[in-house]
């Protein structure tokens, strides 16, 4: 807590934004479209923070995030439908994803680097195939839930869980656990030599990451009551889009995933409105350009932008203007 009070000037902008998120829907009439967008934004923030923990801080590229997300969605959906209150159902969804992580994690975490990535991708695909073949028909909540749907409560659930996710990642990375994770990332072999039990920390990071992703899935289950193809929640897109958000925003930072998610959600929405059919294509092109010119992400490239600005100011063109 002392660091928070010490840095209050830096944290003020974020504090204002959070306060606005909390207060505005209570005092203003915000359209359903924007509210839905915000819910998706919160989910992406949760998922990208989740990925950032295992991928950014611990350096293990997890391409199977969708499995934890999907698990959270399914478990929350069914637990909620039998009458358990939603907050509890979401929490249980998160815990179930943790169990899945324990099962998936133990074999795959013994793999190094790119093999871990491919292994998790393969396992997530296994989950998708199994789920897709088990739930062949549409899945939806009982009528009571559909009729009583209230978007505002989805918004606040999403906000709360997103804040929890950011908070968890902050606490973990600033603790001894976080130091150990950074050690694992920077040099796995060196970490082992200095006595850090790399396997244990990789497992811990994966478990926490899975828990957060499961929570995100729970929020989505609350938000989306009907699933035509259940396997869609296990689609690799749920891994890649948060990954995109983290890479765009900046790996290994707390703000990076948030900024990246905002970028992702807001921009794709802007493109959808202004460009219609072609918007996804242009979004993809923009994404490629960002990766090419900001290989360390937007947040990580701050110094690059400053360097460039300095050069611009020094240039004759600028002086001429």
């Amino acid at each position: 807590m002392s660091t928070i009070t010490a840095n209050w000037k830096k944290l003020l902008p974020s504090g204002i934004v959070v306060a606005a998120c909390i207060i505005l829907p209570m005092v203003m009439e915000i359209g359903t479209h924007i509210l839905s967008l915000m819910v998706m934004l919160f989910i992406y923030i949760i998922l990208s923070q989740s990925w950032s923990l295992i991928g950014g801080y611990t350096g293990q590229i997890n391409l199977g995030l969708a499995a934890f997300f999907g698990c959270g969605v399914l478990v929350t959906h069914f637990i909620w439908s039998i009458g358990v209150p939603i907050y509890l159902a979401v929490a249980i969804g998160g815990i179930s994803a943790m169990f899945l992580a324990a099962v998936i994690g133990l074999p795959t975490l013994r793999l190094k680097g790119v093999y871990f990535a491919i292994g998790t991708l393969a396992l997530a695909e296994v989950c998708r195939i199994v789920v897709g073949n088990t739930f062949t028909r549409m899945v939806q909540m009982p009528i009571y839930y559909v009729v009583n749907y209230n978007l505002i409560s989805r918004y606040y659930l999403g906000l709360v869980v997103a804040l929890i996710a950011v908070g968890v990642v902050y606490l973990v990375t600033n603790s001894k656990l976080g130091l150990a994770m950074a050690a694992v990332r920077d040099d796995e072999e060196a970490g082992q030599v200095t006595g850090v039990n790399t396997f244990k920390y990789k497992v811990l990071a994966l478990l926490i990451s899975a828990f957060l992703a499961g929570l995100g899935g729970g929020v989505y289950a609350f938000f989306q009551l009907t699933f035509q193809f259940v396997s869609s929640v296990f689609s690799p897109l749920w891994t890649f889009q948060p990954l995109m958000a983290v890479m765009i925003g900046g790996v290994g930072t707390l703000a990076g995933p948030i900024i990246g998610s905002v970028f992702l959600v807001i921009l794709s929405e802007v493109f959808a409105i202004t460009l219609g059919e072609a918007h996804l294509i242009l979004f993809g092109i923009l994404f490629i350009l960002v990766v090419l010119f900001f290989p360390y992400g937007l947040v990580g490239s701050e110094h690059k932008v400053r360097q460039w600005m300095a050069r611009v100011r020094r240039s004759r063109l600028w002086k001429a203007i």
Partner: protein, 292 residues
């Protein structure tokens, strides 16, 4: 007993296709340490080119292969120039792999949606006159399309082997893989070598697409599942071990198809993936390379 042989034959045919897909992937990964996940999209693109050649001008898919090769080769050059060559400036290999992952994911985004826009999301397939017809060999049905696919995969693997071991270009590729700086000191234009390799890898994807469109079907987003199997084969063969790719593919195909004796048919891909993960745990260097 016939059922078993039929399953084995099917496994070999599918496996050869997996191997064909992995050839292009493995080439790029081995030489430049790029993971091109857009490979699946290029496969679909190749399939579409063949589809339109057939639908508009009646060109048989297998005869269209030379055209597909040329078209896809050029597209591969473009891909390299626009998106991949800037990555070579990155400091270390880890960043190269992860950024190539991201950029090619962006490419998937762009191309998949472009294809959906232009050609609609419908599933397309080529029904040539011989589709569904099969050769009857000792009571075992071997579809003509399957046979053709197997033949093409073998031809492609042999051609690639020949290029890599007998031509100057192939030697440049192998040298650049082992030590790019030393190769340029010898006078090898490494950038150009990479460029052409990218073209070849994309052309291979196109060929796979032709086989897929005539034996199965294509749709704009269909590339990912084929890609995954391609990645599996590439890992099983071992990094940089191009010659082991076709055998590894066939092994994967056999495992997948023989699993029908153990689990319901819809789960066979899942079983293949699970077995792959187990293999990965004990032999991460692949089935064919020695450890280290």
């Amino acid at each position: 007993m016939e059922g078993v042989i039929q399953t084995i034959v099917y496994g070999i045919v599918v496996g050869a296709l997996y191997g064909l897909i992995a050839l292009g992937l493995g080439l790029l990964m081995g030489i430049m340490k790029f993971l091109n996940i857009a490979h699946g999209t290029f496969i679909m693109l190749g399939g579409y080119v063949s589809f339109w050649l057939f639908t508009l001008w009646g060109i048989d898919p297998y005869l269209s292969i030379p055209l597909v090769i040329v078209a896809m080769f050029l597209i591969g050059l473009l891909l390299y120039k626009l998106t991949l060559s800037p990555l070579l400036k990155l400091p270390h290999i880890g960043m190269r792999i992860s950024n190539s992952l991201l950029i090619t994911f962006g490419v998937i985004y762009v191309l998949d949606n472009a294809m959906t826009l232009v050609w609609k999301a419908d599933v397309r397939t080529v029904i040539a006159s011989y589709r569904g017809e099969a050769l009857n060999l000792f009571g075992v049905r071997v579809p003509y399309t399957g046979l053709a696919g197997l033949g093409i995969a073998v031809l492609a693997a042999i051609a690639l082997y020949f290029i890599l071991s007998r031509t100057y270009f192939g030697k440049h590729v192998r040298a650049a893989t082992q030590d790019a700086e030393a190769a340029s000191l010898c006078g090898v234009n490494v950038q150009q070598t990479y460029l052409i390799s990218c073209g070849i890898a994309t052309a291979l994807a196109g060929i796979a697409g032709v086989v897929i469109v005539s034996s199965y079907s294509v749709m704009p987003t269909g590339g990912l599942s084929w890609l995954l199997m391609g990645i599996v084969v590439m890992v099983l063969a071992g990094e940089g071990n191009i010659n082991a790719i076709l055998p590894a593919g066939i092994i994967l195909g056999l495992v997948e198809s023989l699993s029908v004796f153990v689990v319901p048919i819809q789960y066979r891909q899942a079983i293949a993936l699970l077995i792959f993960i187990i293999v990965l745990m004990f032999r991460p260097q692949g089935l064919f390379t020695k450890r280290g």
